[in-house]
Amino acid sequence: MTTNDNNPPDERLLVHALVDGELDPASALRLERQIAADPALAAERARAEALRRALREKVGPKPLPAHVRMRVERTVGLGAARATARPSWAALAASIAVALLLGSGATYLALGPQAGSGDRIATQIADDHLRALMAAQPFEVASSDRHTVKPWFNGKIPQAPRVVDLAAQGFPLAGGRIDVIGGEAVPALVYRHRQHLISVSAVPAGAADAAQISRRTVRGYNVVGWRDGNTSYWAVSDLGAGELEGFVQAFRTAPAE
């Protein structure tokens, strides 16, 4: 009970901010020292971490039912919505074509002729991600095993991408597919995080591509690009910017095979 005196409630709140990665390094360091010296704070942290893990691993997603999405599309008069519950393949293909057409037209207007190649690639990556989400399956090979996904690319494209296992970090592999970026077939890996999907495309880097990380928002999706050797990588998802950043960090630092 006397511990409470050394422990004004503020510190215990800060423990949660620490667990959530919301503290700047200096404050985090100071708090880490206090936690080491104080079992009450240590208990608070253990509890918060246990809960976070349990919630993340066990509470199931509440997936959006198809009829809810279609009802919304009808309500606001979006073109893709059909009265029928089950759109035919032709209709679906047509709506995808329309979306792509609208997308590229809008992109051109938004970016203008002087936009850098990074912007164009980011937009294409976001389009491919969006198109994949609209398909029945967001990937062509479905597997959580990188030893299944990597060989699948062989023979389809010149070089199979780097495939890393990030399940332990909360990003299990869902599958892979091939996108076409700037007329070239490039591999895309699909990872899952809760009910969100992340596409990672590996594009041969141009000499002009900058080495540092770039961040953009394209049509509401977050896009992070970075370069590794002769390849530029692009991750796109509807995840929040912070979480996507965490994924990119995990992807870049994971050991290759």
Binding site: M1, N4, L13, A17, E22, A50, A54, P61, L78, G220
Partner: protein, 186 residues
């Protein structure tokens, strides 16, 4: 007339860009707040209409926060209209907790933190979900936005329209209540 048609098309395009990517999160939040799939469907429809009417005022910042703010407000007014539930102001809740919770059982739990974290680790999905559902709305929405939907504190402050300090204290209280409930229901 032609101008009207063009601006509606423009609104539709913006809606498709801004709101549609986050419809899944919108539905999940509505589901957690109303506790029911059919109610969540209705809330999402109503929120979509509100968002569509307001799409011209979307400032181009965080599309997900913008969308979820509308969904959250729609869900709260929906709850107020359709549920005859005693509404407890969160200030009262916080005062009660300050008055009784901290001294006694806090001390008891301190010396033995392991059993509680073990119970939490052993809890199954059904128990976790019923514990979340039992949280008062201000705590529940904060916990769901952070731990299930992955928003950061700044985004949660935006969506729930409170200062970041309040987000932090609600989150701590929500987690404490959850942990106690899971720990007690053996």
């Amino acid at each position: 007339m032609d101008g009207d048609r063009v601006s509606i098309e423009e609104d539709r395009r913006r809606f498709a860009d801004v709101v549609m990517p986050h419809l899944g999160d919108a539905y999940a939040l509505a589901h957690w707040l109303t506790g029911d799939a059919a109610d969540a469907d209705d809330v999402v429809q109503e929120a979509s209409l509100r968002a569509f009417r307001a799409i011209g005022s979307y400032g181009g910042r965080n599309a997900r926060s913008w969308t979820l703010t509308i969904v959250r407000n729609t869900a709260l007014s929906w709850l107020a209209k359709h549920r005859r539930r005693t509404v407890v102001a969160v200030d009262d809740l916080e005062a009660v907790e300050r008055a009784q919770a901290l001294p006694g059982r806090e001390g008891a739990a301190l010396n033995a933190p392991t059993p509680e974290t073990e119970l939490i680790a052993k809890a199954d999905a059904a128990r976790l979900e019923s514990a979340i559902a039992a949280l008062p709305v201000p705590f529940r929405e904060t916990l769901v936005l952070r731990d299930l939907q992955g928003l950061d504190y700044r985004e949660i402050a935006e969506v729930t329209e409170v200062p970041i300090g309040t987000v932090m204290s609600r989150l701590a209280r929500a987690r404490r209540r959850l942990a106690e409930r899971i720990g007690n229901e053996e």
